[in-house]
Symmetry: C2
Subunit: 403 residues, 2 copies
């Protein structure tokens, strides 16, 4: 039996693993499941001691068959830094920051793309494409370059300029799109047959969610297999939350972690807060217009797997909070003075944490983990130059400066 296969979340039908993820005939979405008995033959707390300091230390729980296909730039196993001074000031037992900006492409997106590009390599793919608010684009650009694949990245026209610069620096075909992240995704959808693109967008293939799962595996190992009480995570598409939830579930089944799952807190920026609204309303509603928040990784009006996200927040007794742009800016200044540079997403988790601590939702005896998902510098204002800007696929095909 193969080490991994796909299972429909809704009807539990299983099928052979494949490169592109489609919906099940019942309408449910597929997830990767592993033969945990097989996994247990080689994966243990002890065997991990001699493994490389990248997310590939957990190769048994990642869907790549032949290790020669692993495309690794040194992603994962990022530091978990304790904020002693803040613990005292805010009366909380333990407060950690997971520093995902120390990944090779300066954000947690390195993980998903290391996995996705490795799988693509295993299937002989040569052209990859992604829609993104920014960090996923530069991550795909880097991993594709390292693997010798051609990358096409489509980002909203207000994507932070330094991230656009990164994509161009890795030699990716880089395009700005009028609209939001789903408008950029439509271009890939419309063009993929004609262009031969492998679509590496959220939930379009199995690698990205699996790569992000390693954040949870790492967190458990770094905390000596005792899960924290609360995880505060900046949430856009939410595959980070889904990935970590999945990680903890698998570790519990493997007998490597015990006890309750952490309460997941999703932080969003006011102005694009579908998850916060859904927690209040009890269900998801489409939100296509009236998006007023800044172009960060949290700005995803219609998270493709929103209901799953919502069920995780409920199941773990978690919640969702929206913080303002001003709260984010103040949080960033505060964290800087504690020695931690933070992206807007990372600063948002500090703002969310402070709010919930003040309200008593986070309690004095809690152990809390914040995620700084991306490098501070990426979000400084940088004017974009020489990159084509398009409305749709037809527009791109005919653009004179198609890079």
């Amino acid at each position: 039996m193969e080490r991994f296969h796909l299972v429909c979340r809704a009807c539990r039908k299983s099928r052979k693993f494949q490169l592109a993820l489609e919906r099940c005939s019942c309408g449910g979405s597929f997830v990767v499941e592993y033969d945990l008995e097989q996994v247990q033959n080689t994966l243990s707390k002890e065997s991990l001691l001699e493994r490389p300091s990248t997310m590939w230390r957990y190769w048994e729980l990642l869907p790549v068959r032949d290790s020669s296909n692993i495309v690794s730039l040194g992603e994962g196993w990022t530091p978990l830094v304790r904020l002693h001074r803040a613990e005292k000031a805010l009366s909380v037992a333990k407060l950690w920051v997971k520093r995902e900006e120390q990944n090779p492409t300066g954000s947690f997106k390195s993980r998903g793309f290391s996995a996705a590009v490795s799988i693509a390599k295993e299937y002989g793919v040569s052209k990859v494409a992604v829609n993104s608010n920014g960090n996923a684009a530069s991550a795909l650009a880097a991993y594709a370059a390292y693997a010798g694949m051609e990358a096409y990245v489509f980002v909203p026209q207000d994507c932070p300029g330094l991230i656009v610069e990164e994509c161009v620096g890795y030699g990716a075909h880089t395009v700005l799109v009028y609209g939001l992240i789903h408008d950029a995704g439509k271009i890939i959808q419309d063009g993929k047959a004609e262009q031969g693109w492998h679509h590496v967008g959220t939930l379009k293939e199995p690698g990205r969610a699996e790569g992000k799962k390693t954040m949870g595996l790492e967190l458990a190992e770094q905390l000596a297999w005792k899960l924290p009480d609360v995880i505060v995570y900046p949430t856009g598409g939410g595959s980070g939350v889904i990935g970590m939830w999945n990680a903890f579930r698998q570790l519990k089944e493997l007998g490597m972690a015990h006890g309750d799952l952490p309460r997941f807190v999703s932080v969003q920026e006011a102005g694009c807060q579908p998850l916060v609204d859904a927690v209040q309303a009890g269900r998801f509603a489409e939100q296509n217009s009236d998006v007023t928040s800044a172009p960060t990784g949290m700005r995803v009006p219609n998270p493709p797997d929103g209901d799953w996200l919502l069920s995780i927040l409920r199941e773990t007794n978690g919640t969702a909070v929206a913080v303002s742009g001003e709260e984010i800016r103040n949080a960033s200044i505060h964290l800087g003075k504690l020695g931690i540079s933070s992206s807007p997403e990372g600063a948002a988790t500090w703002a969310g944490f402070c709010r919930l601590r003040e309200q008593g939702w986070i309690r004095p005896h809690d152990e809390v983990v914040l995620f700084n998902t991306s490098h501070a510098m990426k979000y400084m204002h940088w004017p974009v130059k020489n990159v084509p800007i398009v409305k749709n696929y037809a527009d791109w095909v005919t653009h004179p400066r198609r890079m």
Copy 2:
């Protein structure tokens, strides 16, 4: 006997470890030496397996007495990434990039300042100051903030703006200085008694060199204790080279590494190449004027321990090369297309490597390690705002916007 003490490099006189480094009465410079028999009681290849993934895994070889004084943001244990495609294209056995930009402050300087600020904490210091071309300044700013110390950083007026922004973000008193790095250093020298600054400049205290030493310790461990044939390192003050040379020497004495030391190659940018000139002339000459190179970590006209550096290049059969600004820009584009974003210093090592491979100095069977010492983004053009700019200490004392 204490685990560590100071020894004069010239007359071998030893003395008790202390916070500030002064010259020996014979004129020689002091280095930290360790009681290696004591070190061997706990440090071994096996014991390292269970240690944290930071440079503090080598605590026995770092001069901090009480582990509660360690100021760590998750520095060190950075990835070593193999460039398979480039190995084939350029016919070299093994080619690696050590990704120092993945340190917490985006450069290798995190190491030296984690050590220096830890020592400062052990001695009860509350105000620290440094002169720097940039990355040392932002590193001091971050570590001081985390430790709750006040930081004063002095950088040349053409310091990359994003690095200045980092310093300000960490809450450091940040000042631009007309002139070069030694002009900035003079301000600290002139003001330290009056201001109560602990001077953390190159060779002013023992921590920075010891912290950088961990690059060598790590390299040896990551390559399974077999040292590489060639190390190509971007050289300014040169304490990285001195540190790694020291690391290999200590590992050999400990019986943890064997064989010849790597041939060290120092890369500089044409326009400030005192080391390249010294290798050709056989000795160092002062170079204060006519500096025309860009403001990177390599621009140090008068490396304080230049003769030591030169002797290391000779002893290891190494060399020094100067590459042009244009070669550096092209190297950066080339590395980007291989999936590696590089700072000018890192790109310079690629340019130096290509030159030496072409000349046959680097041979087909060599194993070569390049160092990308800093984050690519830091060097993008960014206008500096709201930071005082001064000529000298008197100027600073009276400046209306002294931050």
